[in-house]
């Protein structure tokens, strides 16, 4: 019986720690905030954080030294001013995670990650030639 408890007690402790981590630290384990979270509970203007969502269609404007666009989660959207070259896969409709500060109306980003979804599809074939990757809307 003592051998049994010597195993079960540490196992229970480890399990308790894991459960604690999952439920108590969940808010710190998310990689980015959504536009809805940002708009409905804005953080301090000098707090550095990540914003993630989709690049809204028709909102991408390239300008000197960067790009501006709207990031949306379907409910709310936040205008982003990004300084620096956008990533290779950056495009309208794609997922994006930008890092920077939110001044209450505009998100100022200096770091961008592009997300891709979990779908893997074959490209359309035209005359036996595959359409250039990433050229689809």
């Amino acid at each position: 019986m003592s051998r049994y408890w010597r195993f079960v007690v540490p196992a229970m402790i480890v399990l308790a720690v894991v459960v604690f981590l999952i439920f108590q630290l969940s808010s710190n384990l998310v990689f980015f905030n959504t536009p809805t979270e940002l708009v409905e509970s804005p953080p301090g203007t000098d707090a550095r954080l990540r914003l993630g969502g989709q690049v809204a269609a028709g909102t991408v404007v390239t300008e000197d030294g960067g790009v501006r666009f709207l990031v949306t989660d379907g409910r709310r959207s936040v205008p982003v001013v990004h300084r620096g070259a956008p990533q290779q896969l950056f495009a309208e409709g794609r997922g994006v995670v930008v890092e920077g500060t939110y001044d209450g109306s505009v998100f100022h980003s200096d770091s961008m990650l592009v997300r891709h979804d979990e779908q893997y599809r074959v490209e359309d074939v035209e005359d036996g030639v595959y359409v250039n990757p990433g050229s689809q809307p």
Binding site: V18, R115, Q119, Y120, V122, E123
Partner: protein, 251 residues
């Protein structure tokens, strides 16, 4: 030496099957069309996902072997546990490497501290810790017992790693094949994935088999050394016979 029916020198049928499967999977990985959004870089899927699947399987096998040891106290289970855990570490490392190579051209960075990535790195180090623990314990029975407990407890993290992308928003996308709403991959690409999964599974099985045979040999060497410890010292070390030799020289 023929440990567990596996010659250490030659190639077994399993080795040959693994090699053939690797050749077939490589051919399919390059012959299938490029992916619509990511192009050719998405071919890393056929390495990255089978690799982590095999790592999970290896750690699950280490769990089964660890339980088997604690129940039966047969050393064969301990040999299987170390073989599986070691192979799991190799494939976890390979998963992270392939993922980093993939992340740079798609996300834009090799590494970022998201939950999925961080938890996978922790999984790697926890199992490296398992191997380190084994190295630190001399007595085979004590080593097998403590390693078995470690091997059972450490499995708790695997579902956390796997479901981290479901539980918390992550830079890493959801599972494609293990997706709650169905497989998110076109048929021809899926063929290349399953070919990769078969190849990785066979390679891992071949590695586990060899590592198991090696563990059996290691245990044999240890046992022989332990049995012969007293006699060996007596046989190998000759008592100095200075007086006798001196007598011969002068005689």
């Amino acid at each position: 030496m023929n440990a567990s029916g596996h010659r250490m020198g030659g190639a077994s049928w399993l080795d040959r099957a693994a090699l053939a499967a690797v050749a077939g999977a490589l051919a399919l990985a390059f012959l299938t069309p490029p992916e619509a959004t990511q192009g050719n870089v998405a071919r890393l899927f056929y390495l990255h996902v089978p690799s982590v699947s095999v790592a999970y399987m290896a750690f699950a096998l280490a769990l089964v072997a660890s339980v088997g040891y604690l129940v039966s106290r047969r050393m064969a289970f301990d040999h299987l546990a170390v073989a599986a855990a070691e192979v799991g570490v190799v494939f976890t490392g390979f998963t992270i490497l392939a993922g980093m190579i993939w992340a740079k051209p798609t996300w834009g960075v090799y590494w970022t501290w998201s939950a999925r990535l961080t938890l996978t790195a922790i999984m790697l180090f926890v199992y490296i810790g398992y191997l380190a623990l084994r190295r630190a314990i001399e007595d085979p029975q004590a080593r097998a017992r403590r390693a078995a407990i470690y091997g059972i407890v450490s499995v708790v993290q695997i579902p956390v790693v796997h479901f981290s992308v479901v539980w918390w928003r992550d830079i890493h996308q959801l599972g494609t094949v293990a997706n709650p709403t169905g497989i998110q991959m076109d048929g021809i690409l899926l063929v290349a994935f399953f070919a990769g999964l078969v190849a990785f599974t066979l390679v891992a099985a071949a590695l586990v088999t060899r590592r198991y045979a090696l563990a059996v040999l290691e245990a044999g060497v240890h046992d022989a050394a332990a049995r012969g410890a007293g006699a060996l010292a007596g046989d190998a070390v000759e008592a100095p016979r200075i007086g006798a030799r001196a007598g011969e020289e002068h005689g």
